[in-house]
Symmetry: C2
Subunit: 429 residues, 2 copies
């Protein structure tokens, strides 16, 4: 029996095979960086259900996403859908309880998202995203703060301005363009959809699509090629420059974003070499909370999503993903079975002192136990021995330096804590 197509299993490293396995450790490494950076920026974590009423998506997100919904009828005959994106859930939650939170609200989440896309090589039906949003601030200072977070999140993973660039754009620029060229207001979103696909379609197809909307490819390309920042983009660029992040951004009106609900500044981050799909993308959606709450709440908002799949591909290609291993502090050797009870007691004391400790559950030859300690990448081995004069003694051995020391059973865990780095988290080696 196999897993469903388009879904991933996450295995502990070392991975059984590149083909089948995704690294649970690499995923956790990325999640830790995502959380850590968001918290440094003062963002607070939230989460919603992975299953939502279908209605939450059908009218707000745009045609493309609705066609790929993982929707079904539940046993209570409700039309439901696995969440394809987080923003509608956030808007629903904010609309329900925004009165209890001071503005601006800076919130983030790490949801798993689902889309029933046609199966293609490397196209998955689920992925994880960092979603970060600022709610209740219409000033472009919020756009700059959010974009700075996006950039710093990628920098925390070792990526530099040589690796990626954030393409900054604005629907306001396009709205002005559309209005000044007398576009049909009823077909404005349709026009944005064409602009969104310009880079992925043939020029002939683009020309034809634009003509049916009353535009020519040349005039559309002229605004893209100008790259002249609007006043709102100018203030964002200034804020990012003040933070020393100016080199990570360029104005690029070729970005417009596919989702229907964006209203202002939009942006996407890409690798500089152009080898991968977008690393992250987002923008302003000042009307969505009003729309979802049926007018009960009305707050400006903006946010971005950063997926784990493209990010993992990019980090792997740039050799920025560390190797992970057990990183055990202590492997406890039980060479004398009559001392197993005493050994278990000390194992317990070491673990209580926050050390990561493993041992052979059943009797095994000393060399086999030692080999296991090495396989598990332990920093130290400890064993209890009977000393003719001192009674039971803990013998400690550093597997890297081969230094040895001894301690009474009473002092052993205290001594080990000073030897090992104390608060243990899974760190790259």
């Amino acid at each position: 029996m196999d897993r469903l197509p388009g879904f991933r299993d996450f295995y502990p490293e070392p991975l059984p095979s590149r083909e089948v396995g995704w690294s649970a450790d690499a995923r956790q490494y990325i999640f830790d960086k995502w959380r850590d950076t968001a918290r440094r920026y003062g963002f607070r974590e939230y989460d919603g259900p992975p299953l939502e009423p279908l209605e939450l998506y059908t009218t707000k997100s745009g045609a493309e996403i609705v066609g790929q919904l993982y929707n079904f009828k539940d046993k209570g005959e409700r039309d439901v859908s696995l969440r394809p994106e987080m923003t509608p859930t956030l808007a629903r939650m904010v609309a329900a309880h925004q009165r209890s939170y001071k503005k601006p609200m800076k919130w983030f989440a790490l949801p798993q998202l689902f889309r029933y896309e046609r199966q293609q090589k490397g196209r998955l039906r689920e992925h994880f995203q960092l979603n970060a949003d600022i709610i209740g601030e219409s000033d472009t200072a919020a756009d700059a703060e959010l974009i700075a977070l996006l950039i710093d999140t990628l920098r925390s993973l070792g990526l530099t301005e040589a690796d990626f660039v954030l393409r900054l754009s604005s629907r306001n620029a396009w709205r002005d363009f559309f209005a000044s060229h007398k576009g049909d207001p009823a077909r404005e979103y349709e026009f944005y959809q064409v602009v969104d696909k310009l880079e992925r379609e043939e020029p002939g197809v683009n020309e034809q699509k634009l003509q049916t909307l009353g535009f020519s490819l040349v005039e559309v390309m002229s605004i893209i090629e100008s790259g002249k920042p609007t006043q709102e983009l100018e203030t964002i660029l200034e804020s990012l420059s003040a933070r020393g992040l100016g080199d990570y951004v360029r104005v690029d009106y070729g970005v417009i974003r596919g989702l229907a609900y964006y209203t202002g500044v939009v942006f996407e981050a890409f690798d500089r070499k152009g080898e991968f799909r977008a690393i992250a993308g987002g923008g302003r959606y000042d009307n969505l909370i009003k729309l979802i709450s049926g007018g009960k709440a009305d707050l400006p908002a903006l946010g971005f999503g950063m997926g784990d799949v493209v990010l993992l591909e990019l980090l792997t290609a740039r050799k920025l993903l560390p190797a992970f291993n057990n990183a055990l502090d202590v492997f406890f050797l039980v060479e004398d079975e009559s001392l197993r009870s005493d050994s278990l007691n000390l194992v317990q004391a070491l673990r209580a002192a926050s050390l990561c400790v493993d041992f052979s559950l059943t009797p095994a030859k000393p060399d086999k136990q030692f080999k296991r300690a090495q396989e598990l990448n332990a920093c130290y081995t400890i064993k209890i021995e009977r000393d003719p004069t001192e009674g039971l003694v803990a013998r400690i051995r550093n597997l890297k330096s081969r230094e040895e020391s001894a301690a009474s059973l009473h002092e052993a865990s205290h001594q080990m804590v000073s030897l090992c780095r104390k608060p243990h988290r899974l760190e790259p080696i």
Copy 2:
């Protein structure tokens, strides 16, 4: 628009209301403790898809769980189900790649699980679980190690032997009983199901059900009331005593577990006052991997699941859940707008030094900014001032001690790092 019934929204603390909100911070606090304890025991993290082929559950898990599956047909006409439990996914993953891992494998996961239960007060349709399993070891030493992990996980949250007890039992004891009383082998699982429900049903109902299987309630109760440990349970108790965990366990044959696949030792943890449902439960399932892999892999295994909902109720009732708040290191005051660029630059430097920093995105009166710093529970405020002799100076203020100091812009982030605890994680205050 509301969320689906039986699903939870997780909000940042302070919570808008006890009624509607679940705390995202409390959830993360529990997840951190779960991860940390499992790693101290040498367990490695894995994960699988939340959606699996329906077939994975229908024949292996037992009638009760199958009746509550969140299953549907996907757009490719596949029968699929949201995962109601993690063990079948683990068995599938292990069966596929166990050759690449040394035994015993000690693995854990923190899955969200789904059951379409009839709506009752407080009954949810999703919850999160710590799932920990040991694969490839048939010795009872593995059972003791797993149970020790379960106990220490609860202890890491502040619960003691006065708060909970692990009721230890074994299907082997029941199998012997069933065989020696000449039960019909074809109805053995049916018999276990009755035993599993003894405490929740009326004695009359139990008596009647047992009689149809050829047993009397009196003889069934006699084995439960004896409480005499079998040899296998005796060795587990000894191992737990050696670790100083003897007071957390008692033999209790009233526990048998509802799932079909358990084969040996089984156990459940309950609060001592008996106010809540089981906090955790698990046992051996030595045949499941063989069953799921169609005979390709055959490994003894055991595991437990610990849900977040009962745990949160218990921690709340015992006042063991800390209050969480922003725990911002620095709130940056921008009192002179002409210094905003310099302020942004220092904000960036502080965040790059791993500090959690927030500030007012738009111009605001000094007292309003200071109030915001207090609301966000900041440890320090910093502001840049023009000094007639020294140029720009960073003024640092400790909001608790009210101590003030000054630093050059160049030295400010270095000084703040020494003032604040360095590696930031969300900690209870």
